[in-house]
Amino acid sequence: MSEKELGRKWDRCLADTAVKLGAGLGLGIVFSVVFFKRRTWPISFGLGYGLGMAYSNCQHDFRSPYLLHGHVVKEQ
């Protein structure tokens, strides 16, 4: 069903966001703790990174039907 597709996409998106955020957070915390003396910024950086990646993935997923794939035609 095509109407369910959108819902599925959203699900994937959210799941991906959660994962990425979590991952980002985790890495952020790790980095903050390990390398940056428990500063806050790596965390926010990580979160932001994760969010960004998730956003990007989400967008790509939503855009995918409209993307045109071009092929380079080598001239003979």
């Binding site: 109407e3 597709e5 959108l6 939503f62 039907p65």
Partner: protein, 754 residues
Amino acid sequence: MLRVCRKAAGGAAQSCLYGRGSLRPLQPCCYYSSTGSSGATAGKLVGAGLLFMGGGLGGTILYAKWDPKFRANVEKSVPYSEQLFQMTLGPPASPAPLPKKAVPPQPLHISSVAETSKESKQKKEKSAEQPAAEVLPPPGEHSLEEASTEAAHIISAMSEAVSVPAPGTHRDEAEPQAEAPAGAECVECKHEAPSAVKERPAEEVAVRLALQDQAEQDVLASLSTTLEEALGRTAKVTLQAVEAQDAAVQAICTHTQKLKEAMEDSEVSSDQKSTQWSALESALKERSKCVDNAADALQKARSELENLRGVIAAAKKSSVPGARAHILAAEENLHRMSVDLDNKVSKVQSAQTEAKIISQYSELVREAKTQFQKELNSITPDIQGGWKGLTGKLTADDLNSLIAHAHRRIDQLNRELAEQRVREQLRIETALEQQRLEDKKALDGAVAAALERRREEVRLEQERKVEEVREVMEAEMRTQLRRQAAAHTDHLRDVLKVQEQELRAEAQESLNRKLVEQETEFRRMNQQQINAFTQDVNTAFARLKGMEDAIDSHAVAEEEARRAHQLWLAVEALGYTLKTAAAEAPTEPLAGAVQAIRDSCGENEFAQALATALPEESLQRGVYSEASLRARFYSIRKLARRVAMIDETRNSLYQYFLSYLQSVLLFEPEQVAPPAKLSPDDMDTFKLLSYATYCIEHGDLELAAKFVNQLRGESRRVAQDWLKEARLTLETRQIVSLLSAYANAVGLGTTQAP
């Protein structure tokens, strides 16, 4: 370009002006403050501007005056410049007139006689005036009555309307002024009276012409014969006269010769003398006879010549053209003969004068002799006869007396001689005078005769020349007429040919028409009979056929009815299967029912086609019911509204958010009745969905599907599946309804009325 220069010049002038006005060095700040009074500088500015404008205008006008192309350009580009130019410069100069080659005046084409006559003959039917005018000069040139009548006769012999053109041409020759009316009359008469005088005049005129020719010939023959006879006679007589003259001359000469001999020869014996004298006598007789003969012959010749002259005059009066030559020849002959005759006569006369002289001399001598004889007789009477036998008979006295007589005679003769010598001179003078007179008279006479003769010759020459010229003209006229006649015959031939063709075509046409009529009549009759017969046969056959068909159709109808029932049942079964759709699940697969239909309508193409037209999905999987689709539609609607803004250009997540916001904030009525015609404004997603909802609510799935089909972008993608299902359902239902309608129709069709 010039304007630019002018502007630059103006600008330069301006700057120059300013430069001259104030010798201060150029300062970046304005001039106006340095002078101190803005009004003056404004005035200067205005003045300079006006000057510049005036200069530009004047320059433009001057240059336009000099260069017309520039003027044209300016007039084209600047709106009211042409009026300005017209006011100041006058109208624009016209383009240089093309040098026209002087058309050489057509040289007066004096058409030759041959051409005009030919043309005239050919155009005789069309324009009478021209031919009349052109035919005029040739005939007018040789205005001989004979030639004109001949020509008229030739023309009339050739043409149909005979009598009229002949007088026309005759009149033309006679009156050159009346040519045009005569010619016109000619044509009119010709056109008016051709039918009345068709065949006969030609024959008549031919006969007339023949008769005339004959008459002419006769006259000519008679004339020539008379002339010849007269000539012959005259020639003979003249010849005779000439011979006679010659004989006379001869006789006179012989006579004089004999006389001379007789006179001079005194030593001859008496017998010879007497024979001489007798010969002389005979010669004299001969001479007189010959002279008489000659005179007679001359008389006769002269009379004959007069006759001939009279005959020639008569011939001239009779004026037959052919005789001219004869007449001329005869005249020439006459002249020659008269000249010869005159010559001979003069010869005879001279001979005669000579003879007279000789005779006179002989007379004188004889007289002297007789005188001497007498004197001698008077002195010595008894001595007679000649001197020769007298030497012994004369005495001294006789001798003395003889000598004395001789001396006396000598003295006398001497005296006479002296006297004669004295008178000689006078006599010679008088004689010369006489001679001169006579010579003059003779000369006058000779001159007069020669003049006469010359005049006669000249006249003959002239007549001969006139005759020649006349002949030449005759010949030319004849050729022209012949040409005219030939052209006329050609024209006639053409006309006849055309007529013949026309008549033939007409006859052929009427013949064809008659034939065609007859043939069509025949065919018609034939066809009628065949038709009647065929009709009877057909009716009989048709009845037989009808009976057979009726029987067959009964059986066929039974079969049809059975089949129709089966089909109907099958279709009903299919329809029933459609109703088996549950709330969310599709119907049963329709394959079985469709197969049943296919079996029941084996050879029915329409049903077969329809049965095969059912989509594969419906056969295998079944279709959804309308209710389920309806329910599904609402979820679609919600989703479609949420992604209304998303399409291939706008598809970021932010756009998704915006689209969702739009769907939340936009309030559209849920159901809107769709208009009869969709405008581009209606292509909005929300509107379309409203229309579709309305349609769904009112049971029109088809229209709803159509509206949903108009969605674009993500909304369309969302509604894709629903649309497909809706399409399937609609298709299947359509086919089924068709089939059922068909089955009903067939059933109704095969139902026998009780």
